[in-house]
Every structure is written in structure tokens, then in C-alpha cells.
């Protein structure tokens, strides 16, 4: 994680914004880029920690993944599921058309 890798430029910001589906106004792009660089610079000190024999922490809880029985306990709540939809029709969610 040298300085070179931490440097985020506007093209990278555009790429990340696209991946995140966020529309960033042109005028904000530079300051956002600066902010991101500052934050990435801040977290760069992790580089100095020796983690060669350390497993990543999967979870803090220490317990095992609980299992659920295969019973139908849910569903048949179309009204609730669609209640907050900005647009719905005949029981479907409606969105601008996607061309595959």
C-alpha cells in the first residue's frame, strides 16, 4: 500500500462512482477526490503492521452459524412488500426498461 497505490485521481473516482451507482456533479469531483486521498492516506499506516501469520477476523461473536428448519414461514404478503414501492403494477415492481 505505497503512496502510489493510494493516489486516487478523477478517472478512478468516476469509475468508483459508476460501480456505486452514484451521480457525482462535476463541480464536486475534485474535492471528493481530495477527501478520498486524505482518507486513504490516513489508513495507509496499516501497511507497517506485520500480519504475515494472522487470519482475518471473520466475526467477533465466536459462535457458529445457526441453521433454520426448512419450513415455509413467510411470504404471501404482496401488499406489504409492494406498499412502499414508488411504482408498481398488477403485483409487479415497475422500473425503467432494461435492455439486455
Amino acid at each position: 500500500m505505497s503512496n502510489k497505490k493510494s493516489i486516487v485521481d478523477i478517472p478512478t473516482v468516476n469509475k468508483i462512482a459508476r460501480l456505486s451507482r452514484l451521480d457525482i456533479p462535476e463541480k464536486n469531483k475534485q474535492s471528493l477526490t481530495n477527501d478520498l486521498n486524505n482518507i486513504l492516506g490516513f489508513v495507509a499506516n496499516l501497511e507497517e503492521v506485520d500480519t504475515s501469520n494472522v487470519e482475518p477476523l471473520a466475526s467477533v461473536t465466536g459462535h457458529k452459524l445457526p441453521l433454520r428448519s426448512d419450513i415455509v414461514t413467510d411470504g404471501n404478503i404482496e401488499d406489504l412488500v409492494l406498499k412502499n414501492a414508488p411504482e408498481s403494477s398488477s403485483g409487479f415492481f415497475v422500473v425503467p426498461k432494461v435492455i439486455e
Binding site: 459508476r18 460501480l19 451507482r21 471473520a58 466475526s59 461473536t61 459462535h63 457458529k64 452459524l65 445457526p66 441453521l67 433454520r68 428448519s69 426448512d70 419450513i71 415455509v72 414461514t73 413467510d74 411470504g75 404471501n76 404478503i77 404482496e78 406489504l80 412488500v81 409492494l82 403494477s89 398488477s90 403485483g91 409487479f92 415492481f93 415497475v94 422500473v95 425503467p96 426498461k97 432494461v98 435492455i99 439486455e100
Partner: protein, 490 residues
């Protein structure tokens, strides 16, 4: 374009030489569970839009996943049936991307540590030859919902019923070498899934779909760039798509071009593959372990328990049927396609002639059922009834030819064969005296032909046999008829 040279399957003749195909398959099999992988909504097919959807499936704020133990068990079962490594610790990862049928904005899948590791299965390449196809891994993941794009000119309609249904993704190694092998591989996987009961393998309803990775190379060369053909839901389409794609690639390479690694769709109407129109560069899925879940862990004894309860699998069944019943490997391979074929066969062949039973099942019963669009489970002829029919043939009570008529009657009326034979008086005549009488009658009535036969026209023997059969309404025991004719045509 393949020329008329006798090429092995999976090979394409180009200007510059012979190309061979390298194929890997990713099969998505819907787990036969009642509820979904991480939610308690129903996983059944065909319900009214958004009725099999819970708040978790709809990804409302604050919703959380809880894993279905049955799905875990099915994945382990299937892994064992694929002779694969079972991983006692596995992780669920989020695969992040945006699409309208993906409410969470990510799919819960398994990336770095899947529940099942490497394995292998045997497939029949043709009637004589088998080959081994390696399995890379099997993992559990959520299915996505359905989008309808043709209901409205500018809008798409989204149904989340299928969202969150459990899928097992089975990834093969790139060991497949022809469209035919690919078809055989899918058939075998489907068979195994149905045997262990983890998936119903119904390709029409979408419970089994395949993505094919295809590349081509000249013999001895490294693997070429591959393209992925998505969402093939019949063996016929898999066959066609692979062939079309391989030919497309050969044409490009022969012309000096390069293959772009891309995702393609198979157009069933044109028989060609086409590139999926995606606006931007390759997806970056940003996989990371799902923090709403913990590592999935189970013990060796959990796995052992499942192993002990596994049903007999197709390969074993095939060997066993050949050994125990003396049937041909070819017949055995057809019978082991479905577990219920094996069960039916064994019931029908109990105490009887295995070879004959197999013969009748394969040549007569399956054909008749197909004609009526029936599954074996709904056969009007029970295994016991078939067994009884075979017994009548074996004991010589009816001839094979008469048996066919009895069989047709059984298909319609579901009556017992012995009852049909009695009612219609179809018992074979095997009494020496009676047959002798018939033979003498035929000889007496056809003196001129007897003279011709005795003077050397050997082919006329068939005529006499026919005549005896005719006057006995087909009931005369053909073996005896032959014997008696030979003795008396002097």
C-alpha cells in the same frame, strides 16, 4: 465450417488445421427445498407475482439472512455423490452488483471457501467409452428474481418470487471436449441430482440451467480465450450453442483475429451466439465475507451421517445390475438414468429373467409411455404386472409376438396379463399332438409346395411356419412348430 472429413466430435476443420474444443460447464441447480436459502418464503415455482416474497427477499431496511439447514444438507449430499471434497468450514460472500431483480444489490454466494471442493464423475462418451470429468467446486448461492421486459414499451416489470431461492452451482473443470460430452455430462449431473433428491432437474421449469465456457485450440497448444454462453436450459441448446460458438471462434482465429473474453447469449431462433450488450467494462463484484452471517461449520460425523444415508448412485447401480441380472452394460446404462427406473426394473425382474425384463422395459415400455406422454411413475403397467408378463413368455405360455398384443392391452386396461391371456384364449399351444395335427394339416393342404421344398427351395420353410401360425391364430409354439415341420417335411 466443418467439412465432410470424418472428424471426431468436438473437432473443427479449419484452413490452417484441426481445432479442438475445450469446454467447461457451470450448472445452476435449484435445491429441492420448501423454503428459500436465507428466508422462510416458499421456493415453489409458478406462483402469482411477488407472493413468495418475504421482507428479507425484498431487501427492506434492517432485514437479515438465516440459513436453511436442508439446503446445507443437500449440498453436502450432492458433493459426496460427485466424489468431492467436503469442506467442513465454508464462508458466504457477497457478490456486489446492481440489477432490478437483485434487491439487496448483492447476491449471497460463496467465493473463496465453498462448501464443496474438487471431485469427479464418469460420463458415457458413447456406447463403449467412458471418460472422467473433473469437478472444480460446488457452492450454495441465492437465485435472482425475474424481469419482464416485454410488457410495456419503456418499463420493465419485476417479480421477486425466485429471489433468494437456493441454488447449487456446480463448476466443472475444463475437461469436456465436445458438445456430445457436454450433453452427457449434464445428463449425468442431472441423474445424480435426482438420485440424491437434492434437485428435481427440471430444465423446462428452470430448476437446472447451464452456462458453458467454450474455447478452441490446436492440439497440444495452451487453452485459448474463452467465452461464456449463459442460461442454456436444454441439452439440445447446449449442444447447438457449443457447436455454434466453437465455429464462430475458429472462423475468427482462422482469419487472424483474436477472441474477446465476453459473455454471450444463444439465440435459439438463429442458432448463433451473440454478445450480451453491457454498457461498461467487466463487472467488479467486490466479493467480501457477508458480515450478517458466520462461517458455516460442521463436523466429520455430520458428513459421515449423510454419507451413510446416500442412496445407491448410478455408477454402482449399473455395475450391480450387470452383475446381478446379467444384462448388458448398454441396457444397464439406460436403466440407471433414473433411480425409479432401477427400482421398477428390480421389482419387475424379481425371480424372473433379468435380460428379458430389461429388453421389454427399454424397447416396449419406455416407448409406449413416451407415446402417451406418461412418466414411469404413472405407468398403467405396474412392475409386478410386467414381471408376470415376462414370466408368461419365459414359461412359454405365450409367444413373444402374442406378448406384444397382451402388452398393448395392459397399457389400456391395466389388467393382469394372465387375465388377458385367459380372457382372449391366447395361451400358446405347446402340446406335441396338437402341433403335429396342425403341421400335418398344412402339409396335406400344400402338397405342391412340399414337392418344391423337397426339391431344394429351402426358403419355403418359412411359408409352412407362417401357415401353421396362421391356422393357430399365432398361438402355436414356434419352437415346436419348427421341430415338427423339420421332422415331417420328408
Amino acid at each position: 465450417m466443418s467439412e465432410t472429413l470424418k472428424l471426431k466430435p468436438g473437432h473443427i476443420q479449419g484452413e490452417t488445421g484441426v481445432w479442438e474444443m475445450v469446454i467447461g460447464l457451470e450448472i445452476h441447480a435449484q435445491v429441492s427445498s420448501k423454503s428459500k436459502l436465507f428466508s422462510g418464503a416458499s421456493a415453489t415455482f409458478g406462483a402469482q407475482a411477488n407472493s413468495n416474497v418475504s421482507l428479507v427477499d425484498a431487501a427492506m431496511p434492517g432485514m437479515l439472512p438465516v440459513i436453511n439447514e436442508y439446503c446445507v444438507e443437500q449440498a453436502v449430499k450432492t458433493g459426496l455423490a460427485l466424489n468431492a471434497q467436503i469442506n467442513n468450514v465454508s464462508i458466504f460472500d457477497r457478490k456486489n452488483y446492481f440489477y432490478a431483480d437483485l434487491p439487496q444489490g448483492y447476491q449471497i454466494s460463496q467465493f473463496t471457501k465453498p462448501i464443496v471442493g474438487e471431485g469427479e464423475i464418469n460420463i458415457d462418451v458413447d456406447d463403449e467409452n467412458q471418460t472422467t470429468i473433473g469437478i472444480e467446486r460446488l457452492h450454495l448461492e441465492q437465485d435472482a428474481g425475474k424481469s419482464l421486459h416485454d410488457q410495456h414499451p419503456s418499463k420493465s416489470y419485476i417479480d421477486l418470487n425466485r429471489t433468494g431461492v437456493a441454488l447449487m452451482e456446480i463448476v466443472s473443470k475444463p475437461d469436456i471436449r465436445s458438445p456430445q460430452e457436454a450433453g452427457a455430462y449434464v445428463k449425468k449431473i442431472r441423474s445424480i441430482l435426482r438420485y440424491v433428491g437434492s434437485c428435481d432437474g427440471n430444465m423446462e421449469e428452470g430448476s437446472l440451467r447451464a452456462d458453458c465456457n467454450v474455447s478452441v485450440r490446436k492440439a497440444g497448444e495452451e487453452f485459448g480465450t474463452r467465452c461464456e454462453i449463459k442460461n442454456l436450459n436444454s441439452i439440445r441448446f447446449i449442444n447447438q450453442a457449443i457447436q455454434a460458438e466453437a465455429e464462430r471462434q475458429v472462423e475468427i482465429l482462422e482469419a487472424g483475429g483474436e477472441i474477446n473474453q465476453e459473455t454471450r447469449l444463444f439465440d435459439t431462433s438463429t442458432g448463433e451466439t451473440r454478445s450480451m450488450r453491457s454498457k461498461e467494462d467487466a463487472h467488479d463484484y467486490r466479493y467480501f465475507p457477508d458480515p450478517d452471517l458466520l462461517p458455516l461449520e460442521f463436523t466429520d460425523s455430520y458428513v459421515q451421517d449423510i454419507k451413510e444415508k446416500l442412496p445407491e448412485l448410478p455408477d454402482f447401480a449399473k455395475k450391480r445390475l450387470v452383475n446381478e441380472y446379467g444384462i448388458t452394460p448398454y441396457d444397464a446404462s439406460i436403466l440407471v438414468e433414473e433411480k425409479d427406473y432401477v427400482d421398477f426394473f428390480e421389482q419387475a425382474a424379481t425371480g424372473g429373467d433379468g435380460k428379458l425384463t430389461a429388453n421389454w422395459m427399454i424397447s416396449e415400455l419406455f416407448g409406449a409411455l413416451k407415446k402417451e406422454n406418461l412418466l414411469l411413475a404413472n405407468s398403467p403397467i405396474s412392475p409386478e404386472a410386467l414381471g408376470e408378463l415376462i414370466g408368461l413368455i419365459a414359461k412359454g405360455i405365450i409367444s413373444g409376438k402374442i406378448a406384444k398384443d397382451v402388452f398393448s392391452e395392459m397399457m389400456i386396461s391395466s389388467k393382469k396379463p394372465s387375465d388377458i391371456v385367459k380372457e382372449k384364449g391366447l395361451e400358446q399351444v405347446s402340446d406335441d399332438k396338437e402341433i403335429l395335427k396342425l403341421v400335418e394339416n398344412v402339409i396335406a393342404d400344400n402338397q405342391d409346395k412340399v414337392k418344391d421344398y423337397l426339391s431344394g427351395k429351402d426358403k419355403l420353410f418359412g411359408f409352412f411356419v407362417g401357415q401353421v401360425m396362421k391356422i393357430s391364430q399365432g398361438k402355436a409354439n414356434p419352437g415346436l412348430v419348427n421341430k415338427m415341420l423339420k421332422e415331417n417335411l420328408k
